[in-house]
Symmetry: C2
Subunit: 200 residues, 2 copies
């Protein structure tokens, strides 16, 4: 941990940690154009998990930003976005995985991706790989063509030092990565920083 | 079951059944403008389930139609769309639920919705409510504004007799509803028909 309370997630890796009710998690892109996949589980019952389908339904928007709540599969608010210097994140796509690299990139010996990194980091909390849903992909830029429904993965809009801050509404287990997919990060793999602030 | 092998799902209800590898499921909108939420689980290991995030990622499109595969959370193809007379379905939103009606419609005594209907129908297969992900919402029309990310639930484009047909790539448990949300069905609740054809 750095002097200012920052933790670093190395390129193409991931971590898991607990976040208490009222605590704030700030996810920082230290170099710019780097995605961080975020998952959240109810710490006291990890069958309750972040749900893109419920969150988008209640927001009536696919792009979320400051003020928007992130709901669970039981329609409880897990996190709320309280600051956001970027304003473009993705909540449509699952974490990249060995399958992503095999199917989309055609890699013969694929990296385990954010999915594998999250699975390894969440295992000590008793969370199985099958329980990993669509992540909230901080800084991931996926413009959708409304007419055709086609989308593509564009370079993130985040610049060095940009951040997004979430406040926990219940006690959580968080999974967080420095994303492993070339396309999502404009062709290079960089670290992600994060900081936890106590409840007000 | 009707003389032509059609089953009927009554308005605001749901069913579950098995679908064998190679069998074809046709979902029919008999009256027009009626949505049917579809779920699919690996029959031999129900922790493997339909994944919107993986399917959309591999398709690079939010609107799916004939030829498109529907993937599981383990990146296996569960179903493939082999016929589609409508061409507009939704794969962003979770099944409507008591929470949907409470949060979006403000109902004091909400209906259990497609979520409750699916949970009840899937219980005999040992599938818990927490395992219900984003459904493939046949005939649901959710236009997205690409610039702002805003979307709304518009009347389905399906007319009486329109259908979509899926072929099973592995043995499945299917959940299927006649959707219970007013907005999704242009203000009225109608039945859904379905038919199963044997493997070729």
């Amino acid at each position: 941990m750095g002097a200012d309370g920052r933790h670093e997630i190395a390129p193409r890796s991931g971590v898991a940690f607990t976040l208490g009710r009222g605590e704030r998690l700030t996810v920082i892109d230290p170099c710019g154009e780097q995605v961080a996949d975020l998952l959240a589980f109810n710490r006291h019952d990890t069958d309750e998990v972040l749900s893109s389908g419920r969150t988008l339904d209640y927001a009536s928007r696919i792009y979320l930003t400051t003020g928007d709540p992130l709901y669970s599969n039981r329609s409880n608010v897990l996190l709320r976005i309280v600051e956001d210097t970027v304003g473009r994140h993705d909540f449509l796509l699952t974490p990249c995985s060995a399958d992503t690299f095999r199917i989309i990139y055609g890699d013969a010996h694929p990296h385990r991706g954010c999915f594998g990194n999250l699975a390894a980091a969440l295992a000590p909390y008793g969370i199985a790989p099958d329980r990993i849903p669509v992540a909230f992909n901080c800084f991931m830029n996926v413009p959708v063509d409304g007419a055709t429904g086609a989308f593509h993965v564009a370079p993130p809009l985040s610049r060095a030092g940009d951040h997004i801050t979430f406040e926990a509404e219940i006690d959580l287990v968080i999974g967080l990565t420095a994303c492993s997919a070339l396309q999502s990060n404009n062709g290079s793999f960089k670290p992600i920083h994060y900081r936890i602030a106590p409840a007000a």
